[in-house]
Symmetry: C2
Subunit: 242 residues, 2 copies
């Protein structure tokens, strides 16, 4: 009986996902962009951030999992940078993608421009929505995080990391775009390297930041669509250009 | 002696302003845009917002200065919407511009695209930077406000209001753009009417919002340059366009 109930639940989930994907496709099909429905990963509630944990472990004389460049072990080894706190995996840059796909089941999408459709925006903070994006011969990791930087006031933070070195990251520019309800918000920046800590990028606020009311204005039925585009960074050659 | 000291101070202020204007012109001259140096207005520190005051006065049976549409007096009369708390002036829409210019000495600029250069971003919250923009046959009011929505964490809020009715405002789209340090942030929206309360637009966060660290990344020597453009609102006819 329990088996049948679970099967029925799984079928309902599939129908729900299919419906969301269809809806997203309908909205963005005009632009000919690939739409990816991204479900939230498990909550990190009550867990300290890995950077905070890194600080504690440094004080205790243990090697920090973040800020790899400050660590003294093999510089080719990187910590797993997907923001799942429980993951203690470390490995070479070349196998980070397969680790993220196999261990954390993070999807990878191909294409110059894609739409990231984050579902269930109402879930309590902290929650993450993560996707990998393969483009221009490299892989990028998009992290959308709902977090309470100020207690009782959850905000959304979105950033893009290159699964590569900081020097490689400097060659690219990523753009995140929200467009709904007669409002449009665009953020363009150089992606950060996965060797830097995603937690510190978000805590510094050096990313796209949305308060809850703005996120609601940009959402449709609890889902937030973010248009993503990656280019080689010629656009920022002149800062005077506005 | 005191007179000479004051004269010397005034001359120094003029030289400082001239230098900032020259610097801004040098940065943006390539784009051929008009640059306006905007100094902060006096601090509203420890003063309640006019909306809060409106609520108090409503409870006490006094007509509210904000949310004019809820008031019962002449609907053609609007409260002064420049965010100087002490201003109790009310007048017809047609004379709001002359009131803002004459009483509050707010500059008015002509041109389709201008650059708003807010100086002294380090000043403590609350602080306002205000300018009027004349474009497409109408006048707009740009308000940049530094405010502590969460205690100890000042943020910057920028919005544009039409000095006209909400129906007139619906015909336009304004764009605010920041571009520096390999980062670019663009906000596009329909301007709100000056008949709505600027305080509530900002407290709702339905505007361009910057945290302090991001504002510092976009600033140059304590000045923040915001590119402003106003167009008639055809761009938002299709929400699918991204």
């Amino acid at each position: 009986m329990l088996f049948f109930t679970q099967c029925f639940g799984a079928v309902l989930d599939l129908i729900h996902l299919r419906f969301q994907h269809y809806k997203a496709k309908r909205v963005f099909s005009a632009a000919g962009q690939l739409v990816c429905v991204v479900n939230p990963t498990h909550s990190l509630k009550y867990a300290p951030t890995r950077c905070a944990a890194a600080q504690v472990s440094t004080e205790q004389g243990i090697l920090p999992p973040c800020h790899h460049h400050e660590a003294v072990h093999d510089p080719q080894l990187v910590p797993c940078t997907c923001p799942l706190f429980s993951c203690q995996w470390e490995g070479h840059l070349e196998v980070v993608v397969s680790h993220l796909r196999q261990t954390h089941r993070i999807n990878i999408l191909q294409g110059a421009e894609i739409v990231f459709l984050a579902t269930d925006m109402h879930l309590p903070a902290p929650t993450d929505w993560i996707i990998m994006h393969s483009c221009l011969g490299h892989q990028f990791l998009l992290v959308l995080r709902k977090q309470e930087k100020y207690e009782g006031h959850p905000q959304f933070f979105a950033t893009m990391m290159l699964i590569g070195t900081p020097t490689q990251a400097d060659n690219f520019t990523y753009r995140l775009e929200l467009n709904r309800n007669q409002r449009r918000l665009k953020w363009e920046a150089t992606p950060r390297s996965i060797l830097e800590c995603v937690d510190s990028v978000i805590s510094d606020g050096d990313c796209l930041v949305l308060n809850t009311s703005l996120a609601q204005l940009f959402s449709d039925n609890g889902s937030l669509a973010i248009g993503i585009a990656i280019t080689t960074s010629k656009a920022h050659s002149s800062e005077a250009e506005m």
